[in-house]
């Protein structure tokens, strides 16, 4: 724990220096970084790099196998689906859905969760009890079943997937930051700020938040894989992103139907999901060790 020295008792916990950042950058895991870079590149530049229109049908070329198999060719590198759409192009566009869903969910639910968590931990009392009760309820309900129910009732679609994911994701942030805020509140630099006449909000935003950021970044990174898989599960069940918009989860659902004739439909979207989530988790593990070793059990 930083700040256990005599000097540290009055100063805020260490912030990251440029030198440290450079040190970590050298040790950064290359494989997950490279994968995430490719996925992000694909998502951003999808219209430029996708060889075909992801929703264009070509019934003459339906169920074309990947290029290395007999019947495959260079125009459809990873083959086509049952109505002749290019699998590679759909994979590239599918990256968009996964990354958009993950980033919006984490940003919004993280903001809500951190605000409520810090307020809860800093002010304590009745506010804390109420917020923590809601967090407990949130964490004890079967989230997938609830999401299935909500998605069905709200009518399937990406907006509702986002709403559901945000509803189910803020509680983790709230619980973690509450604990951190409670510890930080007792530290001398916060007491000093209070003595110096800082308002509660100033203390929260100027003194607590910056010191919580490491923890929040670690949790957010570790959440990416989970959220992508959750969205894919809903899309797989037909309750998430709707056809013809390409999403990895719904592509897999199509793959289930043609698993005997066209294995590639069930394999490639899953590989994309696996590599993306694996890389995000590895990045999260690495960030955790680098920024915040006390979260080892997260």
């Amino acid at each position: 724990m930083a700040g256990t020295t005599t000097v540290g008792a009055l100063t805020p916990p260490r912030r990251i220096s440029i030198g440290q950042l450079r040190g970590w950058a050298v040790q950064a895991p290359l494989f997950p970084l490279a994968i995430l870079a490719i996925v992000m590149f694909a998502a951003v530049f999808a219209p430029l790099i996708a060889p075909h229109d992801p929703v264009a049908l070509n019934v003459d070329a339906r169920l074309t196998p990947p290029f290395w198999l007999e019947g495959g060719g260079s125009s459809y590198l990873l083959g086509t689906d049952a109505i002749g759409r290019d699998v590679l192009s759909r994979l590239i566009y599918g990256a968009r859905i996964s990354l958009i869903v993950a980033s919006i969910t984490i940003f919004v639910s993280g903001s809500i969760g951190v605000t409520l968590g810090v307020a809860s931990g800093y002010f304590g009392g009745a506010l804390d009890r109420i917020i923590m009760r809601i967090v407990d309820i949130q964490l004890s309900v079967p989230s997938l079943l609830f999401a299935v129910g909500l998605a069905g009732i709200l009518h399937p679609g990406i907006e509702n997937v986002l709403v559901i994911l945000i509803i189910f994701n803020w509680a983790g942030f709230a619980r973690l930051t509450r604990g951190e805020a409670m510890t930080l509140r007792e530290r001398d630099f916060v007491a000093l700020a209070r003595v110096a006449g800082c308002s509660s909000w100033r203390i929260i935003f100027r003194h607590l938040m910056p010191n919580l950021m490491n923890t929040v970044i670690v949790l957010a990174t570790l959440d990416v894989g989970r959220i992508i898989i959750f969205e894919a599960s809903l899309s797989y069940l037909g309750l998430g992103v709707q056809n013809p918009t390409p999403a990895w989860g719904s592509m897999l659902a199509d793959g289930r139907a043609y698993i005997i004739d066209a294995w590639w439909l069930a394999v490639f979207p899953g590989v994309a999901l696996l590599l993306t989530c694996l890389s995000a988790n590895l990045m999260g593990d690495w960030l955790r060790d680098a920024l915040d070793p006390k979260l080892r059990n997260l």
């Binding site: 309820i137 309900v141 079943l145 299935v148 599960s233 899953g270 988790n281």
Partner: protein, 306 residues
């Protein structure tokens, strides 16, 4: 211990109440149930009488009171699709879900304990690296994709196992393995780090100095203490397993509560959906409650507030 149990039961009751309110709101969101129940060419008067029968003409708080009263009686409404009480439909499906969840639970214990213990004892070896890779893959691989890959390998290519249905042991193997898979990964990680902590402690060192045989140290002294944090996780995992069965049951056409819930959503059969959510939530909350009790009994520091 008494006050602790009381406090935790109160917490669980609050959580249950929260779920009931949530589900009630969800059902109101879903639109007018009368339009789903009434025949297509119903007149306005017929619609009004259906609403009256359902209590929909009353203010929202009165509807909530009726709703809770019905819940107390075990009445969660009638399935629009099957014209049967929703609870009865769910109860018919519970054995299948329970069978699958318990099998998955057994699978994840059987895999994670040996690997977790082995990798902790042989830390830093090649086997440890493999064990950790399995754990990493487990958390990153979507269960439904693993299911598809297993169907591809064992059903389509090798023709060893049936792709779906329930009845024989062969039909249970793939769903149980896939459902247990996710838990397996996190259990391996937890058990490994828990074992490492314990193996590093002073009393284990003392036992080693005394010349206690290594297998006694691992199986008798270390595992017992390393397993304490696992107890809580296990019960929470059981809840997650039941939740995860929603998608796994759908893939393997396993006739359980999860498959019924998904089918009911597409059939707009909301009473069945809400009954499924309520019953599964109640199960999860109860298992969490029991886990806390067991945990506080095994480790008194918990109930004494650390």
């Amino acid at each position: 211990m008494g006050t602790y149990i009381l406090k935790r039961s109160f917490d669980s009751l609050i959580a249950l109440t929260g779920v009931v309110i949530l589900v009630f709101c969800m059902v109101r969101f879903s639109g007018d149930p009368a339009t789903l129940l009434a025949p297509q060419n119903a007149t306005a008067a017929e619609m009004a009488s259906i609403r009256e029968d359902l209590g929909l003409d009353q203010p929202i708080w009165a509807q909530f009171v009726i709703y809770v009263q019905n819940l107390m009686k075990g009445d969660m409404g009638y399935s629009y699709r099957f014209r049967q009480p929703a609870t009865q439909l769910i109860f018919e499906r519970i054995p299948a879900t329970l069978q699958l969840s318990l099998a998955a639970f057994a699978v994840s214990l059987l895999i994670s304990f040996p690997i977790g213990i082995y990798t902790a004892v042989h830390k830093g070896t090649f086997a440890d690296a493999i064990g950790r890779t399995i754990a990493l893959l487990g958390q990153a691989m979507p269960g439904f994709w693993l299911a598809l890959m297993m169907i591809l390998l064992f059903s389509v290519t090798l023709r060893w196992l049936p792709t779906s249905g329930r009845g024989t042991i062969a039909q249970l193997i793939m769903p149980a393995f896939v459902l247990g898979w996710f838990s397996t990964a996190s259990l391996i990680r937890l058990l490994r780090s828990s074992m490492l902590d314990v193996l590093d402690s002073d009393y284990i060192k003392l036992a080693r100095i005394k010349g206690v045989p290594e297998h006694v140290i691992i199986w008798k002294h270390a595992l017992k203490n390393a397993a304490i944090p696992i107890v809580t996780i296990l019960a929470i995992r059981l809840g997650h397993l039941i939740d995860g069965s929603v998608i796994i049951e759908t893939i393997f056409a396993w006739p359980g509560v999860g498959q019924l819930a998904v089918q009911s959503i597409f059939a707009r059969d909301y009473p069945v959906v809400q009954a499924a959510i309520l019953l599964v939530s109640a199960t999860v909350i109860t298992s969490n409650f029991l886990a806390d009790l067991v945990y506080s009994w095994v480790d008194p520091r918990i109930r004494l507030g650390k």
